[in-house]
Symmetry: C2
Subunit: 455 residues, 2 copies
């Protein structure tokens, strides 16, 4: 059967349930620790921050599938199913015998996969009677996605946007405002933690960790308000499992099973969502692909981080998570892949990597990433996000290996988003002013020394 | 049968031929006139400006269908078929019994339908051995589309971008450069006509007409170079017929035929492409929809223009076209719908309107357009381009009429593009600083007085 350029599922073939990978994991990741008590977080500890249904999903380790409510499936129908695309033109440009596929999550206005979890989180908040939400955003894709979901379901939203991103991407702010959100560059003077950071460094470019602190502080101090997070947490990965479920079903229609699955990893929601349906095979002892995580050399949490308990935020107010971390005080150098500038990593992804289920991590230098991005844009048409371009880089490298060996491997990578709002990054690549920064061992050691002591 | 949110054709169902509406028109529009001789343009007159196959298509009034070459169909497969979307959420928000559908042409990196003709034009140029192309761009969508096609087929490109648009949309320029194009704000000092305009008004915001003059001048003065145009001409409308062909086939799958077809009209390529397959029915005396063109109040070529011979450009160097025109010297007020800021209108669209085949024209005020755009974005998710939002405005008004009368009309409109690069426009709408300008009768009369005398 000829493989089309784009494989679409019908709306009836779309997943009706999310896949909860934890139900298949041999060992669970360590529980959250309440930093105030030093003990594992209870459901009650989490309820002031997150709405109840999401807490239940966060703690659910037994149900393999969790039904997607009809209202969320209707929201999904506005922009899903997303296609699995055969990168015929990229294959030809590389002269590789490899078959390259990508799951494209960028063809919605938020420009990324983030909308999959935004819709779910806002729906459950609304259902619980929550009227206000807060969040942080790095590259702006999560904030945009959440703004769209909040506009649709009718919930107020305040977004703390990493200051360096808000300066690089002024129009992202305008998109969120068009959808009715209030956008505050972080660190800001609207929170205690923000004021403290500004006092130490008035020119702080901010970070995801810092923006998280501000959003959480505002949520717990505001009536009928909750905090929502676009990555890292188990329930976010649960929602993102639609990516891999759809991709697997689409490829199966043509009798295809990938040899390699590649995803970029910042907080872990894209990689976790893309690989879950395939990782299920590995966890069940079946034939499975090789899994490769791609991250930036300037923020290498998986490749150079410690597997340890740490705060999820810079302000050290969240529960402690056992994860690969560069230290919650680590301030990643400015990098155009704003969505990957996070000190930690999803506990699920961390555990799977630690236990050897994720085969490999590649930390990529930003100019090599944009070289891949520009090639991809020119031959495949679609302009990729800098984050996703880390996965493109690895996919191209794997395809070039196949060219040497003659192997016809099937490569699947996640094209998690588009680069429409990253043009200053592309411009800096094109005019040769782009640089990159690799943290020194000393910097990392100093950051690790500040990790919280647990147990 | 339940109508899904999005109706996709398979790649096999995509059109294999473009529809040439002229073969069905009872009367052809008047021929181009060569301003130097005062006589109808011959094929030879056009060959220094356009490549041969496109000239043949431009002059073809007999073949109802013209085959789409395999290479172009492969390019189309990267981003087509585009979906027909049922606007369930907009219907609900309006409380209308009308069934609203839109053909969505924005889910490619160029962000609009323009890619359909760009691919064809670059392919034919390459086939003829042309190595360089020039063009103009207003909103930037055509320039981006052409940059993508030139990158794919390997042809050099220089884009003259309307200066006001290049200032409003700096990142559009960066996108085109990422795809390897050279971008020059127009009017510029690189051409005689540009230097003349700058001498008269150094602060000229430019216009599509002026950018066309510069691009044509450069094309004819450069070896092995041709000019390509993103709208207006018959061969562009021919390529854009895929929009309506796909839409008609998609709706037929569910037994649906529209009562009303609405398209925004700047140069006419979107409206012409969307309506052609349906207009075929009207031309053949069958049941047909009501056709409504939407244009900006500030540049009302159809509603207030003269049906007369005029130059296609400000510099008065193109052939004369019989069309609805505000006068080639008319400088439209700055308006965020850059793609609709053109003094003239496609000769095919003009002829169809003049002969009563297009039923109605609505000239819309910019704030009402953005009111519609913002509502659409919030309930349907997708952020529309200002140009397309003119059609949304009319569709909403028609749906609200149905609410009054209780009629369940089927409305189809063209969502020709996305608003990712129009955030300064949305910001100006949201903060209340958006204004609009309606040309006075005196201004138009003065412009009409300068129309060229023909015959």
């Amino acid at each position: 059967m000829d493989i089309p350029y784009k494989i679409y599922l019908t709306e009836e073939e779309m997943p009706k349930a999310w896949y909860n990978i934890k139900a298949d994991m041999k060992e669970q990741h360590e529980p959250f620790i309440n930093p105030a008590t030093g003990k594992p977080c209870t459901k009650e500890d989490l309820l002031p921050v997150f709405c109840e249904e999401l807490v239940d999903q966060e703690l659910n380790t037994t149900d393999r599938f969790i039904e997607i409510p009809e209202e969320i499936r209707n929201f999904y129908r506005m922009y899903r199913p997303s296609p699995v695309v055969r990168a015929y033109c990229l294959e030809k440009a590389l002269g590789t015998p490899a078959k390259i596929f990508y799951k494209y999550e960028g063809s919605n206005t938020s420009g990324s996969h983030k909308l999959n979890s935004a819709a779910a989180q806002v729906y459950y908040a609304k259902k619980q009677g929550i009227t206000k939400l807060t969040t942080e955003t790095g590259a702006g894709q999560w904030g945009t996605a959440l703004s769209m979901a909040c506009a649709y379901f009718g919930v107020d939203l305040t977004v703390y946007m990493v200051k360096s991103s808000s300066q690089q991407k002024p129009y992202r702010k305008a998109v969120m405002e068009t959808y009715g959100a209030k956008v505050i560059p972080s660190p800001s003077d609207t929170t205690e933690v923000g004021r403290k950071i500004l006092a130490e460094d008035p020119d702080s470019p901010g970070s995801l960790g810092c923006a998280i602190s501000e959003a959480v502080e505002t949520a717990v101090k505001t009536e009928n308000c909750r905090y929502v997070l676009g990555s890292v947490l188990d329930h976010v990965l649960l929602h993102q499992s639609v990516i891999g479920l759809e991709a697997k079903t689409a490829l199966e229609k043509y009798g295809i099973y990938p040899d390699i699955v590649i995803g970029c990893a910042g907080g872990g929601s894209n990689l976790g969502g893309l690989m879950a349906a395939f990782m299920a095979d590995k966890l069940q002892g079946k034939k499975a692909p090789k899994f490769i995580a791609a991250e930036p050399l300037s923020c290498p949490s998986l490749s150079r981080g410690k597997y340890a308990y740490d705060f999820g935020d810079t302000g050290r107010i969240t529960p402690l998570l056992k994860m690969y971390t560069l230290g919650s005080g680590f301030m990643p150098a400015p990098n155009y892949a704003g969505g990957l500038r996070y000190h930690g990593m999803s506990p699920i992804v961390s555990k799977l990597y630690h236990d050897g289920y994720i085969d490999e991590v590649r930390a990529e230098e930003q100019r090599r990433v944009f070289e891949a991005a520009t090639l991809f844009a020119r031959v495949e048409g679609t302009l990729p996000a800098p984050e996703s371009s880390h996965a493109i880089r690895v996919a191209i490298d794997e395809a070039l290996k196949c060219k040497e060996t003659g192997e016809e491997k099937v490569i699947l990578f996640g094209l998690s988003g588009t680069g429409f709002f990253d043009m200053s990054a592309y411009a800096s690549y094109l005019d040769g002013t782009m640089t990159d920064y690799v943290p020194t061992d000393e910097e990392l050691a100093a950051s690790f020394a500040k990790l919280p002591q647990v147990g």
